[in-house]
């Protein structure tokens, strides 16, 4: 038997003390080692979840879109005050009398941040890139309004030159649409339609945004993008309107914990927090009373979907009964509390040129009558069914419990609540594996079409099993209609069909946008329906701003319960 190898010398002497005695000096050394000096930016904004992508063709989230809007410019851009489309890289445009042909004239001083001119060909490239099936852009539908756009994207035609976008020369872009699309200029400001650098993409592929420098066409250029740390933007000096860019450097911080966001803001580490999920729900009552918290109408609707392929929800009477039994006012006052408005229609109010029609209200007696007519007096004989909601926020569950109570009380039916983790929930919704399901939708542009077209029979977002030829025909007619008043009437008919006659969905409330910043220190942020706030317009008042007046919070203590709720899965923002 060989002799045991015994630890010798230093090892032996230290052997038994190592962890205890060395730990403290090592800790001090490590602490001293973490110095990473990042010069502070002029403006620090907490932007919400970490962007999944900054590529305009690929991104889908709101936080992603807000960064991309700064880096890349479109033919039009958003007016900071009301999010209306104003001239961007196109200084002017002509529209043909039939509303189908747009001729955009690009600015002569449009340059990439790397110095090359931005031409009409760059736009053709960017748009065809979105439509190219190989790009696999989830938002390609925003370009289906182009002549042959859908056909090219779905592979029916292979020749991109047949798509309705052409550069007639370096400065002129001719766009041919399928139908007169009254909201086309709004679409031109959308991230998806913004111009991206061809050479960089050809050279670096998917990782083109990680190469430096990224040629940018917007008011800012990308200096650094560290995942979950920060995105640093610097003023693009070659931007055509650089004279009006106020802040030299801007940091966009990712953050998904509402308490952390509030703490950073309260101690002056962040100037603006502009994500509605970053307000601790438990403190909403208190915070909304403060002058630096701003709640405003937002282009989004929270609603319930019915699965019409399942009995008895295939009967409009039953669906209407369920809709009429809901007291929506109670939900916004008791649960959401962030300034949301109860909804009876699907399209939120405030869309220019569209008067939202009235849907179903709160009428329990009528609800009971309808249910009795359908063969379930006082809910007798009603089959057991489930309400599907996801676990991204406690709010969904609270609303589900409230609905359960209302339907039990008013209709005598008992609903079982089925909670699912986010992706499982989406899969169940997509496969029509539900009876009733909580849903929400955020509009992309200010037109009723962004809400209504999803319930057309063949739309992937329909997810109810509902196919209604009359509804499809109405929407097609509306989008072929040149006269705005007539178009509005047709869209209203479609919406009434959707929420009143068929009651396919029950809109519960219209979203409210929430952001916080001190209006005395930060100027240039305006509430608007799309919740877009071009950073170019934002500036600080006063030089020395490290001890902000809002630094003291009335109630900064996040309790354990609040923390756990703030730690819940970051809500994937549904679209930009």
């Amino acid at each position: 038997m060989p002799p045991a190898r015994r630890p010798v010398g230093l090892v032996r002497r230290l052997g038994f003390r190592v962890p205890g005695c060395l730990a403290v000096p090592v800790l001090v050394l490590l602490l001293a080692g973490c110095t990473r000096s990042v010069p502070s930016a002029d403006l620090v904004i907490i932007n919400g979840a970490e962007p999944e992508s900054l590529d305009p063709a690929i991104l889908t989230g709101q936080a992603d879109g807000r960064v991309a809007l700064e880096l890349f410019e479109g033919l039009t851009r958003y007016d900071p005050a009301n999010a209306a489309p104003i001239p961007g890289l196109a200084e002017r445009w002509d529209i043909s009398p039939d509303g189908r042909i747009y001729t955009f004239h690009l600015r002569t001083n449009a340059l990439w941040s790397t110095g090359e001119p931005i031409t009409a060909r760059d736009f053709v490239y960017s748009w065809l890139r979105v439509l190219n099936p190989d790009t696999a852009s989830e938002y390609a539908g925003q370009l289906f309004y182009l002549e042959n756009g859908e056909e090219y994207c779905t592979g029916k035609i292979k020749d991109p030159s047949r798509v309705g976008v052409k550069a007639t020369d370096d400065r002129t872009l001719r766009v041919e649409l399928k139908n007169p699309t009254p909201f086309f200029l709004d679409l031109c400001a959308l991230q998806t339609l913004r111009v991206v650098p061809r050479q960089a993409i050809a050279k670096y592929g998917d990782r083109w945004l990680m190469a430096r420098p990224v040629p940018c066409s917007g008011a800012y250029e990308l200096v650094a993008w560290r995942v979950n740390d920060r995105i640093r933007l610097r003023k693009n000096r070659r931007y055509w309107d650089a004279a009006h860019t106020r802040c030299e450097t801007v940091d966009l911080l990712p953050c998904t914990s509402a308490n952390t966001a509030l703490n950073l803001y309260a101690t002056g580490a962040a100037d603006v927090v502009w994500d509605k999920n970053l307000v601790p729900v438990e403190l909403l009552d208190l915070l909304l009373k403060r002058p630096d918290f701003h709640s405003f109408p937002y282009l989004g609707t929270y609603f319930i979907r019915f699965n019409v392929t399942r009995r008895p929800f295939d009967q409009p009477r039953v669906r209407k009964a369920f809709a009429l039994a809901i007291d929506k006012k109670r939900i916004v006052e008791k649960i959401t509390k962030g300034g949301e408005q109860p909804a009876s229609s699907y399209t939120p109010p405030g869309i220019p040129g569209y008067e939202t029609p009235e849907g179903l209200g709160h009428e329990p007696p009528a609800a009971r009558k309808l249910l009795a007519e359908a063969g379930f007096p006082d809910g007798r004989g009603f089959p057991s069914f489930q309400y599907l909601c996801d676990t991204t926020s406690h709010l969904h569950e609270q609303i589900a419990v409230e609905l359960q109570d209302m339907w039990q009380r008013e209709l005598g039916v008992h609903v079982e609540i089925r909670k699912m983790e986010w992706k499982t929930y989406l899969r169940a919704q997509g496969e029509l594996d539900y009876d009733l399901c909580r849903s929400s939708w955020i509009g992309d542009y200010k037109d009723a079409n962004t809400f209504l077209d999803m319930f057309m029979s063949n739309n992937g977002n329909n997810r109810t099993g509902w196919k209604n030829p009359r509804y499809d025909a109405l929407l097609r007619a509306a989008n072929a209609q040149l006269d705005r008043t007539k178009r509005e009437k047709i869209l209203q008919q479609a919406e009434i069909l959707l929420v009143r006659e068929e009651a396919l969905i029950v809109p519960l409330y219209f979203y409210a946008g929430l952001e916080y910043h001190d209006e005395d220190r930060i100027k240039g942020i305006f509430p608007n329906l799309l919740d877009v706030h071009p950073i170019q317009a934002i500036y600080k008042v006063g030089r020395n701003s490290h001890a902000p007046p809002h630094a003291r919070l009335a109630e900064p203590q996040p309790s354990a319960a609040e923390t756990s709720s703030a730690l819940a899965v970051p809500l994937p923002a549904p679209g930009p």
Binding site: A4, R5, R6, G15, F16, R17, P19, G20, A23, L27, L30, L31, C34, T35, R36, S37, V38, E50, E52, D55, I58, P133, A136, E138, A140, E150, C153, T154, D206, R207, W208, R226, V227, N228, D229, T256, S257, N259, T260, N263, L264, T267, A269, W422, K423, T424, Y425, L426, R427, G430, W441, G460, L553, Q557, S559, A560, T563, L567, P572, P574
Partner: protein, 322 residues
């Protein structure tokens, strides 16, 4: 030495099995990386998206591709091995963060998590060991009770309570430390405490138990009978064996700490990889999940090996022979 090499070699099949299981299990979970509230506009795009990330292939094929062992035909008609792959150290593209590769994300986040984890580990041992020693030696005294109470307290109160409490007191009331973010040494203090306190309590309890058991052993009585000083008895004879449970606990603990903590990274908005450990699963970012599982497995296995090695140094009864 041969023993060490043998152990190291045995890790490779183990990591492969783990990565395979992670890959399979992730694909079994309902929903996929591209299921969103808003559906891709057409079936064609859905298909293109799946094809781009090879999600349309059978899972075994995807796994071979992930490892970098798959042979496929090029458009030119030649057979060749696919590019990249885990075996060449390439974790593949992230399906959620489409501009980044998993290697990019780990390369950015891991140093932060390693640094913070190492600090928390030093803090936990630096506080836990003396505390455990003290509570065992002073058992029955007020110091013993106070120490035990403290250790139990930090074990019972989870990080998601301690973190906000520390922030409330030290950042918001007294303004000593920043409330969140990562940067200089000041930023690291509160996260280190939040992360390390629980483990300090745990280590102190382990050491205390160990000490109390050992102090009743015969060889301690013998040592005392020989007339050794109490310090020598405690430090040279008792502590050395009592610390063994702490050492074996340190391996998995260190692996845990070094790969980041979801809770602490969330509370302090720290750009580590702990957040991805949870979120990548929720988002079905297949490549990222498997990448992180492999990383964690390798760390855990290596640190366990290190623990076994440390055992042989500390405890004369443990030897690894051929």
């Amino acid at each position: 030495m041969t023993y060490l090499l043998k152990r190291l070699a045995s890790l490779i099949p183990l990591v492969l099995v783990i990565s395979f299981l992670a890959f399979e299990v992730m694909h079994l979970a309902p929903g996929g990386p591209f299921d969103r509230e808003r559906a891709p506009v057409s079936e064609e795009i859905k298909r293109a998206l799946a094809a781009r990330y090879h999600l349309d292939e059978p899972v075994w094929k995807q796994y071979l591709r992930y490892l970098g062992l798959l042979r496929e035909k090029t458009p030119a008609g030649k057979w060749r091995i696919v590019e990249g792959g885990l075996l060449k150290g390439d974790f593949g593209p992230s399906m959620q963060y489409r501009n980044h590769t998993v290697t990019d994300i780990i390369a950015q986040g891991l140093p932060v998590s390693l640094w913070l984890g190492a600090m928390a580990f030093c803090f936990a041992t630096g506080l836990g060991i003396p505390l455990g020693f003290l509570t065992a030696v002073r058992k029955g005294n007020w110091q013993g009770y106070a120490g035990s109470f403290l250790a139990l307290l930090v074990i019972c109160v989870p990080a998601l309570v301690i973190g906000p409490m520390l922030i409330m007191v030290f950042s918001i009331q007294w303004r000593w430390f920043p409330v969140a973010l990562w940067g200089d040494a000041w930023h690291a203090v509160l996260p280190t405490l939040t992360l390390g306190l629980y483990f300090a309590g745990k280590i102190s309890r382990l050491l205390r138990e160990g000490m109390l058991t050992i102090l009743h052993a015969h060889f301690i009585t013998t040592a005392r009978a020989k007339g050794l000083s109490e310090t020598a008895v405690l430090l040279k004879h008792a502590f050395r064996l009592a610390v063994l449970p702490v050492v074996s606990y340190s391996g998995p603990l260190l692996a845990d700490l070094l790969t980041g903590s979801f809770v602490v990274e969330n509370i302090f908005q720290i750009p580590g990889i702990g957040v991805f450990m949870v979120n990548s699963v929720l988002n079905r970012d297949y490549t990222m999940v498997v990448g992180l599982v492999v990383l964690y497995a390798v760390l855990l296995l290596l640190l366990n090996l290190a623990v076994d090695f440390a055992y042989s140094l500390i405890d004369p009864r443990v030897k690894y022979y051929e």
